[in-house]
Chain length 539, copies 2
Amino acid sequence: MKIALAQINVCVGDFENNTSKVIACLASARHQKAEIVLFPELTVSGYPPEDLLLKESFILSNIDCLKVIAEHTRGLCALVGFVDSDGKNIYNACAVIVNGTIKHVYHKVSLPNYGVFDEKRYFTPGNKLLSFKYKDIDCAVSICEDIWNEDFVSRLKLLKADVVLNLSASPFHLGKIKMREDILSKAAIAAKAEIVYCNLIGGQDELVFDGTSKVVDHQGRVVALAESFCEDLLVFDFEKDKKYKPVKVKISRGEEIYGALKLGLLDYVHKNGFRSVAIGISGGIDSAVVAALAVDALGGENVTGILMPSRYSSRATFSDAQQLCKNLKMPYHILNIENIFNAYLNTLAPVFAGTKPNLTEENLQARIRGALLMAYSNKFGALVLNTGNKSEVSCGYCTLYGDMVGGYGILKDLTKDMVYALAEYLNKKMGMVIPRTIITRAPSAELRPNQKDSDSLPPYPVLDPIVRFYVEQDYSLDKIVKKGFDKKIVKKVIDMVDFNEYKRRQAPMGVKITPRAFGKDRRMPVTNKFRDYQPGGLT
Amino acid sequence: MKIALAQINVCVGDFENNTSKVIACLASARHQKAEIVLFPELTVSGYPPEDLLLKESFILSNIDCLKVIAEHTRGLCALVGFVDSDGKNIYNACAVIVNGTIKHVYHKVSLPNYGVFDEKRYFTPGNKLLSFKYKDIDCAVSICEDIWNEDFVSRLKLLKADVVLNLSASPFHLGKIKMREDILSKAAIAAKAEIVYCNLIGGQDELVFDGTSKVVDHQGRVVALAESFCEDLLVFDFEKDKKYKPVKVKISRGEEIYGALKLGLLDYVHKNGFRSVAIGISGGIDSAVVAALAVDALGGENVTGILMPSRYSSRATFSDAQQLCKNLKMPYHILNIENIFNAYLNTLAPVFAGTKPNLTEENLQARIRGALLMAYSNKFGALVLNTGNKSEVSCGYCTLYGDMVGGYGILKDLTKDMVYALAEYLNKKMGMVIPRTIITRAPSAELRPNQKDSDSLPPYPVLDPIVRFYVEQDYSLDKIVKKGFDKKIVKKVIDMVDFNEYKRRQAPMGVKITPRAFGKDRRMPVTNKFRDYQPGGLT
């Protein structure tokens, strides 16, 4: 019996298009002789709908759509994710629709409420497992997290199903594709069943869903595999006790990062109604990588560079910036910020009389650039892409309302070392579009004479791993020092990370790439006197 | 037996000072012959610690502090809130410390995970109730939400305690003080016990805890009452079967709003290490109210007004702005934005050639003002207070990186009608500091000739209730129309609210005042195609 895995890109709240897409998949699956069609978690509403789930009209619309979908299941068994309601509680649910009739409804049992997940905020957990016979196959149903839960899997085993159908919306992070394969493999062996796993694909605010749907046999081997980072309709021919040929899940670290960033960018731009983007091009590595990615995703004609040199811009970076735009075949404008900067300094002179130039004047330059970018965006409707990387954003080495402007932060979850690696990857893929000098020059914000990032920050090869230990793994100062770092430097980094929470609170969203991104993945108070290096208490 | 309710203002993560404060209260309570001393929920760590709870060092510090506190409980029974850990899970806990020894530990059973709460993200719920005898009194313990839960209260009843001691960190919103009284009254009657309720006070990011600790007798009457919006040590003389004299909880709507805003502002400023604030003073009602509040809270010498007139500023508003600063005895600077504005227009001229002036030029003016405010803040270390109100922030009638700059949004959760009411309240309290013409003039952003808010927005008396229905109560379009509003206007407002989620995502935090504020109280996706007025589906 053929089972189709409809790995589709739905959009949160877009009931009309999501429904059409489901119906189109049903037709296509039927055409390919599939008899069971499996969709991702919360197919109808998109995932995660967040507080839209508190709106009665949202729930009602989603149930209306499910009924429309049911009418298009002639000759099929379709498993469709939706929000079920009993009038009092709501459930993260799967409808088993057979030939036009909703035969069963399953309620997700294991609700994740950690990391980026808030499912306990909304849903009541189910308490019953569901198995059903379709033609001669015994099927069991599960939704995403369920299959990650050992208790659930041991209950599954008792159902003695031939296949476990899983509807997922499992967000991407680096290494997640491998991790998921391991989890599914373990679960398939434990449940003694084939697992047919259909994952969502698409970008939704901070999250990217990579798809990579698959079938894992009861020996834990992947035997069918859908695409990563794009839509797919995988048709798997299931036969009881058949020995399938295993398939290798192979995706490099570079491909994972590239795939996630490109999809995240594309979907944020298009799902929010934009066609074009604008990027401040400094001649540095971050804006170069963002520009290359944007051109790769949207085409050069939809990406505009804004070059905003000042008295502190070196001729070399400015020329690199122009060369980059030429290489990428993207239009660009040059807006020298000098006159505006002088106008600010003159206007502020009476108030600043007797003070010395300091960070204030540096921030002003960044804010002028931010305002020019936004002016371009306002006038021509291009979304401003933010170019800040995770190392900067961690340490607050960025100006609020300055280089922190923008609708979407492409590099927000990449430490500087990852940005460099991505530059090399893109140059290989796109043909040396990023000038070598951009990659080799020491990073500088160019906001004062001879400035280098390393005046304010530890060198990136030291900073980046500290950021990972502290931000992504909650390591304490002592634990990081034990990894071989200088105590003073670690303390300085921790202080910067903690102190700059207020900046991140107003930062643009960005694509989650690591196991812990800034945003809803890491919810720190701004008002916080805890410093990780205190022994605590009054000792 | 005397029971002390130590209604203290602790700060998240400030273990050293929190511990000192607890110890000082123990001494003071002992001095007043109290035998039991009750503290707020999570006394040691502050509430809510959010993702600090994921740090092992945070948990360890908090337990160290609890041990230090225990050493200072000679002759007392102290109930102290802390984070308990069994090495694997953590618990929102209360230690019952008797004369230096931790005798019992209670784990909160009912973990709130809605609205602003995320307790299920961190804590494992307890499953055992705790009662203990201290001298001749039977005590039961509960933490905050527990006492709001009917099942919990009926289990409490079976314990037949004389008093139920409740440690709370119950955040303020309008009407919450009355609501809490009703809940406690019902619970006391149901549990057939006196409830001694100690609530946190203080501001923590978006939240204000109002205190208003109280004792409710088993007939549900408030018989002892602590202050609202400030620290207090309430000593209650408990006797079995005594008839107490009831106390009236009386606080006006105006006092509630004023108390919460002032405390929220003060604590945000001071707990984050600032002494002074800067405010852009336009001559309009919002900045006038923020300035008056700031002066009331911090003193005129710590509040600086920045007046930033342009070609579109009327003489009347400018003169009102100056008069306001004089009335409030606050220093102010005048920074005309004209030269900077011209410099921007000249710089952008080649790129904008052939386009007509539109919102872009209006936003530019707002962004120049934002950058000037931030420059002042950077140079002199004053926190910029944001002045946007909830009506504006709902509709996106505000400029990102322009009038939306600032560290803290005082009026963010007040619709325009509430801002006017607050102006009248402050004028009564502070003696007509806000010029009458500021209150009577039709609101305008003054970003183009003869602009009025009502050019872009429905009149506030129409807009404000629609915002409340839609944002705070999730009413659908039809339901709002049935309340007597024009369908076209409601649709327009809903569109504006939904479309502008991206602006709010980068807005400063502000004080929660209503039952649903923007921020962690309302978690909407930015990428969202749902419109509340669609019937949904393909119909």
